[in-house]
């Protein structure tokens, strides 16, 4: 009688424990699945994101630098993520024109980025999604 009761109590304890842990296991499993999915999708996106500076022209009289940036990858690049560094300095007022969308730069598309500068630039770096960057040192002067 006592042995049966003991077994019964232990089993109830074990089952209660398993029921309690079920929720935590579900949450952990969901987090791990999301992590794995997000890691794979990020790796693919980084691999497929590419850009290049086709041309950079500085107009001596107007002080305007025009950078032609091409989305040479197969991922869409959000325009809001385009950052331009001129001689190491971040340009905060960029004017981006061209392309089919005012939100994205689609694969194969090129856009013109213009920025007004006080001095002729030497180096231009364009940074897009995931920190992918393109650089140009050969800046045309007109």
């Amino acid at each position: 009688m006592a042995t049966t009761a003991a077994w019964l109590i232990l089993m109830v304890g074990l089952i209660t424990g398993l029921i309690i842990i079920q929720h935590d296991v579900d949450v952990a499993t969901r987090d791990l699945k999301e992590t794995s999915r997000s890691l794979i999708s990020r790796q693919v996106a980084v691999k497929n994101t590419e850009c290049r500076i086709e041309k950079a022209v500085y107009n001596n009289s107007s002080g305007v630098l025009t950078v032609v940036l091409v989305n040479s990858g197969s991922e869409v690049i959000p325009r809001a993520e385009v950052t331009l560094l001129v001689d190491g300095h971040l340009q905060t007022t960029l004017n981006i024109t061209g392309g089919h969308s005012n939100k994205y730069i689609y694969p194969g598309e090129s856009v013109n980025i213009t920025v007004r500068l006080s001095n002729a630039p030497q180096r231009v770096i364009a940074v897009v999604s995931w920190g992918v960057a393109a650089m140009e040192c050969d800046i045309e002067r007109r």
């Binding site: 006592a2 999301e34 997000s38 950052t83 905060t92």
Partner: protein, 162 residues
Amino acid sequence: MASESISQLIWFIATVLITTSVALLFIDVIDDYGGVLRDRAGRLKGEVEAELEIINDPLAVPYNSTTGNLTFYIKNTGSIKLSVDDLVVAANGVARAGNQISTTIVGGGNDWLPGKVLVAVFTVGNLTSGVDYHGWAQTSGVTDGRKLAGTAWDTIDFQIAT
């Protein structure tokens, strides 16, 4: 006969008490294990989601030789918000944190959201042009529930802008 029954009853009660204690211990241990499992999975998720990149031109990191102000441009390349308060930056072996760093999020706002660039200005004395330096930046990811999750960090080898 009566004493045997009493002895059996005592034995039964003792058995029930002991096994109940063991069963409660089981439940407690299993519950703890479940909590640890959930926390570790959450932390791993945070580690993957929190990412940053120092996007400076390595050959021309802005530096004001008069004030000693060095500027890092740090992009949130992850998929969760990053903590501005927990940011630590360092260059040439000098680390700065908290109110030692002046921060601005490009495009405005207080939240360092995915895709946003943060401008971090901090003081490092006596940097010279033409010399190679090493720097890094580190912060924590922040979940929607404003809990810290994962660590994002990046390093850069650089020279200051002339």
